[in-house]
C-alpha cells in the first residue's frame, strides 16, 4: 500500500453497495443498489463501473478490501444456522436470563429479545473450572459422548460451545470440540475460548453463539465472492474490514465472522481519522448521519477509540440493553435513531418528539411524493429552506414543500398550535438536541471536554445539521470532507492490517505475577502476528498493549495502555502508576488505599501505514463573489436569514464565504450558519470555523 498499486474498497450497506477505487490517477467511486440475493453481483457491477471510470483493467487491481452489513442483518433478521449450544450444567439459561433487568422502566408490556438459540437447543455437560482456571469438576467422557450424540441426532448446521471460566482454562471446551470434530468433521464449531476469551459469561456465550449462528453462511458467501471475482478477472486477494478498524484475511473472517459486525461504520471512522491526520487534528469527533441513524465516534491522535464490548441488534428504540452484547474488538460508536427519514410526532404532553421510527426510503419523507404522510426531519429541513426542492439528489427527486407542510400541519401544528415554520424548527431542533446530548454524554463517559474537539461530518444528512450541532456543543471547527457519500469504502483503503488478541487473566496488582503475564502476552503476540502476516506479509508493524484495570470492588474496568515489553515483579508499581494516570484522566482523581486489579489483556499488532499527506490547510483566504441568494432558518437566531448560495466547486483552496451560506453539491448541501465562516481546503474539504474562532486563529 506504499506504492502505486491499485486497490478497491467495497462496502455493502442496507441500500447501496459503495465502491472506491484508488489508482495512480486518483480515486474513482461508484454506487450501486445492494443485491440481497447475490451480494457479489452488486460488488462486481460496482467494481466494473469504478474501473471504467478510472480507466483501469480488472486484472490490474491489486487488492480488494471488503466490509459488509450483511452479518449484522443476519443477526437482526434472525437468518442464521440451525444452531446448538453446549454449556456447563447449571448455566443453560445464561443467554435467556440476560442481565435480569428491564431496559425500559415504565412499559408493563415490555418484551425482551429472544436468545438466538432457543432453550430446547441448549445442552449441558457436567464440568466446572474455578475462577483461577483449576478443574473443580472434571469432564466425563461418557457425558461428552452423550451430548455429541444428541447434537448429531438433532441435525444442527452449527454448534457453539461456551463453558464457565473457559477464558481462564479452555481445556474442557477444546475436549468437546475435539469430540465433535471426530464425530462430524464437516460441522461448523465455534468455542468461546477462541472467539471471545474474556470474563463475563453472558457476553462471551452470546458472542460465540452469534459467531456460530452466522458462520456457515458467511463462509459460503466469502467463498462464492472470491471465486466469482476470480472468474470475472479480478484475481486480486480479498481482505475484510473488521469491527476494530483493521483488515484481516478472508480465511480468518470465515472462521470468526462475528469480528465483521461493525465493519461498515468502522470504515467511516477510519475515513474520518484519515482526514484528522491530514489536517493535523489530534481531537476529533466524527459525525455520520444518514437516513435512519446517526453515529458518533471519538478519534484521538488519528486513531478511532475502540472498546471490547458492544451491543448489536437493539430491539427497542435503540435503547441500551435491548440488543445482544458482543465481546470482540470494536471501534466504539454511539448510535442514535436520528436521520433525515426520522418521523416526528407529538406525545401525550403536547411535546414534539423525533424518531427513532423512520420513513426510510419507502415511502420516504412526505416531500418525496411517494405516499409518505408523516412529517420527517427532511420535511422540516425543506420548510426551513435548508433543502433545495429542485436540487435534491442532483435533481433526481423533486421535493414538494406543500406535502411537507401538510404533514407538519396534520401531525404537529394541529396538536400544538404552532405554525408550520415553528413546528419545523421544533422538529430539527429536537433532533439536533438528541444528537448533541448523545455526543456530550459520550465525551463525558470518556472523561473528555467536547469543546476541545473538531468535528468531521459525513453521510448524506450530516452537512445539513453539523454546523448547528457544533453551535450546541461549543465546537469551533468543523470539516466536511469530499467523497463523503462513499466514506466507508474509502476508509477501507486507509486501514492497516491489524488483529487484536485478548485474554482474561485476573490478578491483583499487589500479587502481580510477571511470568504468567509474559507467557500469555507472548502467546497473544504470536496469535496476532500470524493474522497480520497473512495480509501484510513482512511489512513493518506496531504493537499496542492494553490492560483492563479497576480498583478492587469496582465493576467496570478502564483501558490502560502500557509499553509492550517483558515485565518483572517490580512492574507492579509502574503498571499501578499508569492505571492511576489513566483513572485521573477519566475521573479527575484517584482513590488512596484501595487495591488495584487487572482483569483482561489485549494486544493489537498492526501494519504501519504510510504518512498521510498534509491537506493543504487554509485557515483564511479571500472572500469570493456570491451573487446567488437563498433564505433559510437560522436556529440560533430564531429567524429566516438571507444566505449566500455557492457551489462546492467554487470553494477552491483558500476561497472564503461568510455565513449565513449554503454550499451546494450534487447529493447534499452544507448549511453554514450566521456564526460560522467556510473556507475551501487543498484536499477538497470544507473548513467551517466559528467567526470569533476564525479571527483568533488568524491572529495567532
Amino acid at each position: 500500500m506504499t506504492d502505486d498499486k491499485i486497490r478497491v474498497g467495497v462496502d455493502i450497506g442496507g441500500t447501496f453497495t459503495d465502491v472506491a477505487l484508488d489508482h495512480p490517477g486518483g480515486m474513482a467511486t461508484a454506487k450501486v443498489l445492494t443485491n440481497y440475493a447475490e451480494p457479489e453481483q452488486a460488488i462486481l457491477d460496482g467494481i466494473v463501473k469504478a474501473a471504467d471510470r478510472a480507466g483501469v483493467a480488472l486484472g490490474d487491481i491489486h487488492q480488494v478490501i471488503h466490509g459488509t452489513t450483511l452479518v449484522t442483518n443476519a443477526l437482526i433478521e434472525r437468518r442464521g444456522a440451525k444452531l446448538a449450544f453446549i454449556t456447563t450444567e447449571g448455566f443453560r439459561d445464561v443467554v435467556e436470563m440476560r442481565s435480569e433487568n428491564r431496559f425500559e422502566q415504565y412499559d408493563l408490556n415490555l418484551e425482551l429479545p429472544k436468545p438466538l438459540v432457543p432453550r430446547k437447543d441448549r445442552f449441558t455437560v457436567n464440568e466446572r473450572m474455578s475462577a483461577e482456571g483449576d478443574v473443580l469438576l472434571a469432564l466425563d467422557p461418557a457425558d461428552v459422548a452423550a451430548v455429541v450424540a444428541r447434537v448429531l441426532a438433532g441435525g444442527y448446521d452449527a454448534v457453539a460451545v461456551g463453558f464457565l471460566h473457559a477464558y481462564a482454562n479452555p481445556a474442557h471446551e477444546q475436549a468437546v470440540e475435539a469430540a465433535l470434530r471426530a464425530a462430524a468433521p464437516e460441522l461448523s464449531i465455534s468455542i468461546s475460548s477462541v472467539i471471545s476469551p474474556q470474563m463475563r459469561e453472558f457476553e462471551r456465550f452470546n458472542t460465540v453463539i452469534a459467531n456460530a449462528y452466522v458462520q456457515p453462511q458467511v463462509a459460503t458467501y466469502l467463498d462464492r465472492l472470491v471465486a466469482r471475482l476470480g472468474a470475472e478477472g479480478v484475481g486480486a486477494p480479498v481482505f475484510m474490514m473488521h469491527s476494530g478498524g483493521g483488515l484481516i484475511s478472508v480465511e480468518t473472517a470465515s472462521r470468526e465472522p462475528v469480528r465483521l459486525l461493525e465493519s461498515g461504520p468502522a470504515g467511516g471512522a477510519i475515513f474520518a481519522a484519515d482526514f484528522a491526520k491530514a489536517h493535523g487534528l489530534d481531537k476529533v469527533l466524527s459525525f455520520d448521519m444518514g437516513g435512519t441513524t446517526a453515529k458518533i465516534c471519538l478519534i484521538e491522535d488519528g486513531t478511532p477509540k475502540t472498546a471490547n464490548t458492544f451491543e448489536v441488534a437493539r430491539t427497542y428504540r435503540f435503547k441500551k440493553g435491548s440488543g445482544m452484547p458482543v465481546s470482540t474488538p470494536v471501534v466504539e460508536m454511539v448510535e442514535i435513531g436520528a436521520g433525515g427519514g426520522s418521523i416526528a410526532h407529538v406525545d401525550s404532553m403536547g411535546q414534539i418528539r423525533v424518531g427513532p421510527q423512520s420513513a426510510a426510503s419507502e415511502p420516504g419523507p412526505a416531500c418525496y411524493q411517494r405516499g409518505g404522510e408523516e412529517p420527517t426531519v427532511s420535511d422540516s429541513n425543506l420548510i426551513l429552506g435548508r433543502l433545495d426542492p429542485d436540487n435534491f439528489a442532483g435533481g433526481a427527486i423533486p421535493l414538494s414543500p406543500a406535502l411537507s407542510e401538510q404533514a407538519l400541519v396534520t401531525r404537529i401544528c394541529d396538536a400544538t398550535g404552532l405554525d408550520p415554520r415553528d413546528a419545523a424548527f421544533g422538529v430539527t431542533e429536537m433532533v439536533d438536541e438528541n444528537m448533541a446530548n448523545a455526543a456530550r454524554v459520550h465525551t463525558v463517559e470518556n472523561g473528555r471536554d467536547i469543546e476541545a474537539f473538531t468535528m468531521i461530518a459525513f453521510g448524506g444528512g450530516a452537512p445539513l445539521h453539523a454546523c448547528r450541532l457544533c453551535e450546541k456543543l461549543g465546537i469551533e471547527t468543523l470539516i466536511i470532507p469530499p467523497g463523503a457519500g462513499v466514506g466507508s469504502a474509502i476508509g477501507f483503503l486507509k486501514a492497516p492490517f491489524s488483529y487484536e488478541a485478548s485474554k482474561g487473566i485476573f490478578q491483583r496488582l499487589d500479587q502481580f505475577d510477571p511470568d504468567t503475564v509474559n507467557a500469555a502476552l507472548t502467546a497473544l503476540e504470536d496469535e496476532a502476528r500470524a493474522f497480520v502476516r497473512a495480509g501484510a506479509g513482512d511489512a513493518e508493524t506496531t504493537t499496542r498493549l492494553t490492560a483492563y484495570m479497576r480498583y478492587s470492588g469496582q465493576g467496570y474496568e478502564i483501558p490502560v495502555v502500557l509499553p509492550y515489553r517483558t515485565f518483572t515483579a517490580e512492574d507492579g508499581d509502574t503498571i499501578g502508576a499508569a492505571f492511576e494516570a489513566a483513572y485521573r484522566r477519566l475521573f479527575g482523581r484517584v482513590i488512596d488505599g484501595l487495591a488495584v486489579e487487572i482483569t483482561n489483556w489485549s494486544l493489537v499488532v498492526a501494519s504501519v501505514l504510510p504518512d498521510v499527506a498534509s491537506a493543504g490547510r487554509h485557515l483564511t483566504g479571500l472572500p469570493i463573489d456570491t451573487a446567488r441568494e437563498r433564505r433559510f432558518y437560522d436556529a440560533a437566531l430564531r429567524e429566516m436569514v438571507t444566505a449566500a448560495e455557492v457551489d462546492r466547486e467554487a470553494l477552491t483552496p483558500g476561497a472564503v464565504v461568510h455565513g449565513p451560506a449554503v454550499v451546494v453539491e450534487r447529493n447534499t448541501s452544507t448549511i453554514v450558519t450566521s456564526a460560522y465562516t467556510v473556507t475551501g481546503q487543498g484536499d477538497g474539504s470544507l473548513l467551517l470555523q466559528r467567526k470569533a474562532a476564525a479571527m483568533r486563529e488568524v491572529a495567532a
Binding site: 435467556e96 436470563m97 433487568n101 446530548n437 463525558v444 470492588g553 469496582q554
Partner: protein, 552 residues
C-alpha cells in the same frame, strides 16, 4: 423568540443533564449496587424545592423519595444558611430514601451569585456500620451510623470532623467516603451543563421553565387520571414478613382528576428491619400506578403530586422512628402488586398478575473455617430476580426484576470477588403460574463456600409462604424456597450459616398466570414442554394436555 418551543427544548435538555449526572455517578461509584445495579438517583430541583427532572435509573424507590427530600433540606438548613459551594448530606431513612445505606447529597446551585436551585443525588453505599445490610436489627440504632441533615461542605470547605466520624463508623471507610465525593462530583457535573444551557438560552433563573414543566406534566397526568372510571377499588395481599405474616391492604379512590391510595388495614410494625418508611411506600405505590396510568410523563413534582398516597401512621408501610428499616425494599417492592391489584378492578386488561416482585438480594460473608488459617474475610453481594406476573396479552418475564429495575452480576465476576462457587443459576422449571398467559419463571441458584471457608448470609426473601397470585383464572406461581443441599430448610429472613461442604439452594418464586390455563393455545403448551419451561405433569394437570398431544 418562540418560548413554548424553547421550553420544550430546555426540558428535553434537562433530562439529558440529569442523565449525565447519573452517568457520572455510576462510573465513579464504589458501591456494587450503584455500579452494577443502578441503585441510585439524580435530579434537578428549582429554588422552591420542586423536582424538575430526574434520571431514569434502576430504582423507582428513589423517585418520589428524592423528590420530597430537598424540601426537608431547605427546612433544616435554613435558606439564610445556603451558600455557594455548600454540599448537604443525610442518610435519614425518613427524610431520605428509606434506609441508612442510602446517602443523599444535595448541592445548591447559583447563577451570578443568586441561588437558583438544587442538584440532588442518592446512592446505596457499601457499608454504614451497625449490623450490616440485613433485617435482624430491632431498632434503627442497630442498623448503623445516622447522619442527620447537615453540611458535608460549606463554601467549598469539607467538614473534616464529619468525614472522620463517618470513617470511624463504617467497615469500608475508603469506598464510602469515595462514594460521598462521587455524589458531590456528579452534582457539579450536572451544574456545569445547566449553566451552559442557561447561557445558551439566555435565562437567569429556572422559575419560568419550572412552571412550564410542572403545568405540562400535571395536566398530562390529570388527563390520564380523568380517563379512569370513578369509584373505590380495594385489594389486599398477604406476604411472609420476618416472623409473622404481613397483611397489606389498599383502597384506591378515583374521583374526576383525583387519585388516592390509602393503606388503611395494613399490619402494624415488625420487630425486625422489614419496616418501610412512608416515603418509600409512597415511591413504590406511585411507581405502580404511574406505569399503568401515565407511563409517558417524565418524573417531576408536577407528574407525581396528583398521586395522593397515604397510610396509617405507624403501620408497617409507614413505620415510625426508631423502627428498624434496613431491608425496607422487600415489602416496598411488593407494594406495586397490591396497588395494581386494586387498579385492575378499575382498569381491566391492563395490569399484570402478581410476580416475585421483591428482589432476592443476598449478602454473603465468607469466613475461614479455621480462624487461624490466615485466609481473609470476604463479602459478596448478589442481586437475583424471580419471575414477573403474566400480562393481559403476553407471558410474564422469567428471572427479571419488577418493580425494581436492577441488573444481576456475572457469575464469573462474582466468583472473583469472594471464595464461593455458584454451581447453578438457571431457570426454575415449572415455576411460572399456569394461565392462558404463563407467569415468568423463577430461577434456581446453588452456592457453595470454597475450600477453607464457611459462609454466612443475610436472608431477605419473600413469597416463600405466600406465592404470587394469578389473575382472571390464572394460577399462582410457585413459591420460593431456601434450603441446604442436604434438604435442611432455612428461614426466609435473617442471618444463617452454610458450612463448608454444603450448598445453599435457593428457589426463586415464579410469577402468577393470567387467564384460564385451558385457554392457552395447545401449540404454546407443547412448545413450553419442549423447552422445559413446564413439566409433563403440569402439561397434563394444569393445561389438560393429553399424553398423545405432548409430542407433535
Amino acid at each position: 423568540m418562540t418560548r413554548a418551543i424553547d421550553y420544550q427544548i430546555m426540558w428535553n435538555r434537562l433530562i439529558a443533564v440529569v442523565e449525565e449526572q447519573a452517568t457520572t455517578l455510576i462510573r465513579t461509584a464504589f458501591s456494587t449496587s450503584v455500579r452494577e445495579a443502578g441503585d441510585l438517583s439524580a435530579g434537578l430541583f428549582d429554588v422552591r424545592g420542586r423536582m424538575m427532572a430526574q434520571a431514569v435509573t434502576g430504582t423507582p424507590g428513589h423517585v418520589n423519595a428524592m423528590a420530597e427530600s430537598v424540601t426537608h433540606f431547605v427546612r433544616e438548613i435554613g435558606r439564610q444558611n445556603i451558600f455557594e459551594g455548600d454540599v448537604f448530606i443525610t442518610n435519614d431513612p425518613w427524610l431520605g430514601t428509606g434506609h441508612l445505606h442510602d446517602i443523599t447529597v444535595v448541592s445548591p446551585t447559583f447563577r451570578d451569585g443568586r441561588h437558583i436551585g438544587f442538584f440532588a443525588c442518592t446512592a446505596h453505599v457499601v457499608d454504614i456500620g451497625g449490623r450490616g445490610f440485613g433485617p435482624d436489627g430491632n431498632e434503627v440504632f442497630e442498623e448503623g451510623l445516622q447522619i442527620p441533615i447537615m453540611k458535608f461542605a460549606e463554601r467549598g470547605e469539607v467538614d473534616r470532623t464529619l468525614v472522620a466520624m463517618i470513617r470511624a463508623n463504617t467497615r469500608e471507610p475508603d469506598p464510602v467516603i469515595g462514594d460521598i465525593y462521587s455524589l458531590a462530583a456528579c452534582n457539579e457535573a450536572g451544574d456545569r451543563r445547566l449553566q451552559d444551557m442557561m447561557g445558551e438560552f439566555r435565562i437567569d433563573d429556572l422559575e419560568g421553565l419550572s412552571d412550564f414543566i410542572m403545568e405540562t406534566s400535571r395536566d398530562a397526568t390529570l388527563k390520564c387520571i380523568a380517563a379512569l372510571p370513578d369509584g373505590d377499588y380495594s385489594n389486599d395481599m398477604q406476604v411472609d414478613g420476618y416472623d409473622v405474616p404481613v397483611h397489606m391492604a389498599v383502597r384506591l379512590s378515583v374521583q374526576g382528576t383525583a387519585l388516592k391510595a390509602d393503606f388503611a388495614g395494613t399490619s402494624g410494625p415488625s420487630r425486625f428491619g422489614v419496616n418501610v418508611p412512608m416515603v418509600y411506600t409512597r415511591a413504590y405505590a406511585c411507581y405502580g400506578l404511574k406505569c399503568a396510568v401515565a407511563p409517558e410523563v417524565p418524573n417531576n413534582t408536577g407528574s407525581l403530586e396528583p398521586f395522593e398516597i397515604t397510610a396509617p401512621d405507624g403501620c408497617i408501610l409507614a413505620a415510625r422512628r426508631p423502627a428498624p428499616v434496613s431491608t425496607r425494599h422487600v415489602l416496598g417492592h411488593l407494594v406495586p402488586d397490591v396497588v395494581l391489584g386494586a387498579l385492575h378492578k378499575c382498569l381491566p386488561k391492563t395490569v399484570p398478575a402478581e410476580g416475585a416482585s421483591a428482589l432476592w438480594n443476598i449478602q454473603i460473608s465468607a469466613r475461614p473455617t479455621d480462624p487461624d488459617s490466615g485466609l481473609a474475610n470476604r463479602e459478596v453481594l448478589m442481586f437475583n430476580s424471580g419471575g414477573t406476573g403474566a400480562r393481559p396479552k403476553t407471558d410474564g418475564l422469567s428471572a427479571t426484576a419488577f418493580p425494581s429495575g436492577v441488573s444481576t452480576m456475572s457469575v464469573e465476576a462474582t466468583e472473583h470477588v469472594g471464595p464461593i462457587v455458584v454451581w447453578r443459576k438457571d431457570l426454575r422449571e415449572g415455576s411460572g403460574g399456569a394461565g392462558e398467559f404463563r407467569g415468568g419463571l423463577g430461577q434456581t441458584i446453588e452456592i457453595e463456600p470454597r475450600r477453607g471457608y464457611d459462609f454466612y448470609f443475610n436472608a431477605m426473601f419473600d413469597r416463600i409462604r405466600n406465592p404470587a397470585r394469578g389473575r382472571n383464572g390464572g394460577a399462582s406461581g410457585r413459591a420460593g424456597s431456601v434450603a441446604l443441599s442436604d434438604g435442611t430448610q432455612l428461614a426466609g429472613k435473617g442471618r444463617q450459616k452454610v458450612p463448608n461442604g454444603s450448598r445453599l439452594v435457593l428457589g426463586l418464586p415464579g410469577g402468577g398466570g393470567y387467564g384460564a390455563p385451558q385457554d392457552r393455545p395447545r401449540a404454546h403448551v407443547r412448545a413450553d414442554l419442549d423447552a422445559g419451561y413446564i413439566t409433563e405433569d403440569q402439561a397434563s394437570t394444569d393445561y389438560g394436555l393429553s399424553g398423545d398431544e405432548t409430542h407433535d
